[in-house]
């Protein structure tokens, strides 16, 4: 792989990674959000595989494929099941309206860029230069977590953060030990399962998955 193709492929993967996060913020249909999350998983896989192919590291490629199977396959599958059980739906009334949250995302992107500059300056390779993208997705995920009402879209926000952390780890260190990656992935899976159980119980108790209704437990 030549330098130019590597950079171009890496940039495209990063662009797709970012774009899917933005689209998650944009769309309201929960089904579309899950679908976009799966696409992001594919972008993440592509990112890791490109890095692996560049370094000729078979293990990295395999990790990438594993990550892909989890993020683009298993997790979306579980979420879709939860969605089907709940009868689909849309994110009706986010705490911050969509147009504003898109503008907030714009500011977050700039913030992420400014924040990650010291990191990039340490070793300015094409891979580290893409760290701001991962950081932006992290912030967007966090923002999603804060402003969305439906449990599923909050879950996606959480998973976006996780994707972003994974991406940042691979971009900065060119690979984390297999054990660590495995541990993280299992944690994530566990979180998703717990949340799935939670949503099912919530629906049984309240008939909806608007998390603001949990406040009733407090009173």
């Amino acid at each position: 792989m030549t330098d130019a193709t590597f950079v171009q492929l890496l940039d495209l993967a990063c662009g797709a990674f970012l774009l899917t996060a933005v689209l998650v913020l944009w769309r309201r249909e929960l089904a579309a959000i899950v679908w976009l999350f799966a696409l992001q998983g594919i972008a993440l896989t592509a990112l890791i595989v490109v890095l692996g192919a560049r370094q000729g590291d078979v293990e990295l490629i395999l990790i990438g494929l594993g990550v892909g199977a989890l993020r683009a396959g298993l997790l979306p599958y579980l979420m879709r099941r939860a969605l089907v059980a709940g009868g689909g739906g849309r994110e009706t009334q986010p705490l911050v309206n969509v147009a504003t949250s898109l503008l907030v995302a714009a500011v977050l992107a700039m913030l992420a860029y400014a924040l990650s500059q010291p990191l990039v300056r340490l070793s300015p390779t094409p891979a580290t230069q893409a760290v701001p993208v991962a950081l932006t997705v992290l912030l967007i995920g966090f923002f999603l977590l804060v402003t969305r009402r439906r449990a599923l879209s909050q879950l996606v926000g959480f998973l976006l953060m996780d994707n972003a952390i994974t991406a940042a780890a691979f971009l900065t260190t060119s690979g984390v030990p297999l054990v660590v990656e495995l541990g993280i992935s299992l944690d994530v899976l566990l979180a998703v399962l717990v949340l799935q159980v939670l949503t099912t119980r919530m629906r049984a108790a309240f008939g909806g998955t608007d998390l603001d209704e949990l406040r009733e437990l407090h009173d």
Binding site: D11, L18, L19, W26, V98, L102, A106, Y113, A130, P132
Partner: protein
């Protein structure tokens, strides 16, 4: 220089004559996809001919802004058709207007039409003008920031230079910055030319009309001018998109007369393909609620900003 002038002349003629055909093609594609026979691609020209033969109307209570608006819309469209590099990058008019100026000129056309609509004093005119101006105001940030993104690579907002750089390095288009800017500009094109999902050119339903509400009072030759101008604006936008992101076949410096002629054909082909895609897309889409439009435009602004960011994030 001579071929440049020739190319400029040809592209003005191509836009002037071809744009009604583009509209015809798009309507035909829609008709076929919706299971209708369709009137054929020459229908817009036949409509124009019919309108030109009708007697001009001076509606009571309207004045010079109402009369001047069609002239100005068509005039700005012609100027833009002359200064943007559609057929050749070495137009003698290249230094006249850069990308900022081109967008401002197109906005001038919209403003003229909005004033013409307000001049009638009808509720529909006011409604159309008000909505058109709201959309125009919200589109502006996306346009300028996308221009910014495109200019970073070249270090200039000159259209000729941007297109030339893309011709020399066609793969540069497959970068995140360029792709994001392309998507943002495509949304802008849809909003500015009043296509679905922002506006429906085929509707006369007051809840949703934007462009059509502005031109309701026009008749005869005035209406012909307005229709012709909006067709020209559509083809200019599509042509510009194709030149900026897919400048294959465009005549560059040192091209001969034959290359220029060939380039006209390529341009017609590219714009027709984009038109068909747009029309096909419209069949599968519903119009957005008017107050969801800002969301779409905020999204396109975010994409444009990310395009700028990506060009130094990932550079």
């Amino acid at each position: 220089m001579v071929t440049g002038a020739l190319g400029t002349g040809l592209q003005v003629i191509a836009v002037a004559l071809g744009s009604p055909l583009l509209v015809g093609v798009m309507r035909q594609v829609r008709a076929r996809l919706e299971g209708r026979a369709g009137p054929g691609i020459g229908q817009p020209w036949r409509d124009l001919r019919k309108l030109l033969r009708k007697e001009p109307i001076a509606a009571h209570g309207t004045g010079w802004p109402f009369r001047a608006a069609p002239l100005l819309v068509a005039g700005t469209a012609l100027v833009v058709a002359a200064v943007v590099p559609l057929v050749t990058t070495v137009s003698p008019l290249d230094g006249v207007a850069d990308l900022f100026a081109v967008t401002a000129l197109l906005a001038l056309g919209s403003v003229a039409l909005a004033l013409g609509a307000l001049d009638t004093g009808t509720a529909f005119g006011g409604m159309g003008a008000s909505r058109e101006m709201a959309v125009l105001a919200l589109v502006e940030p996306t346009i300028l920031v996308s221009v910014f993104a495109l200019s970073i690579r070249v270090g200039s907002t000159s259209l000729g230079q941007i297109v030339t750089a893309t011709v020399e390095d066609p793969l540069a288009v497959v970068s995140p910055a360029s792709v994001l800017a392309a998507v943002a500009l495509a949304i802008v094109t849809i909003a500015e030319t009043g296509r679905i999902p922002v506006d429906n050119p085929a509707t006369h339903l007051e809840l949703t009309m934007i462009h059509e509400a502005m031109v309701l009072e026009y008749a005869g030759p005035d209406l012909a001018l307005v229709e012709w101008a909006s067709a020209m604006r559509l083809s200019i936008f599509l042509g510009l998109l194709s030149s900026l992101f897919f400048p294959v076949g465009i005549a560059t410096a040192g091209a001969g007369v034959l290359a220029v002629l060939l380039s006209v054909l390529v341009l017609v082909g590219k714009v027709a393909i984009l038109g068909v895609l747009l029309a096909a897309g419209e069949v599968f889409m519903a119009k957005l609620r008017l107050f969801r439009v800002p969301e779409l435009l905020a999204g396109s602004f975010l994409l444009a900003l990310l395009a700028v960011a990506a060009s130094f994030f990932l550079a």
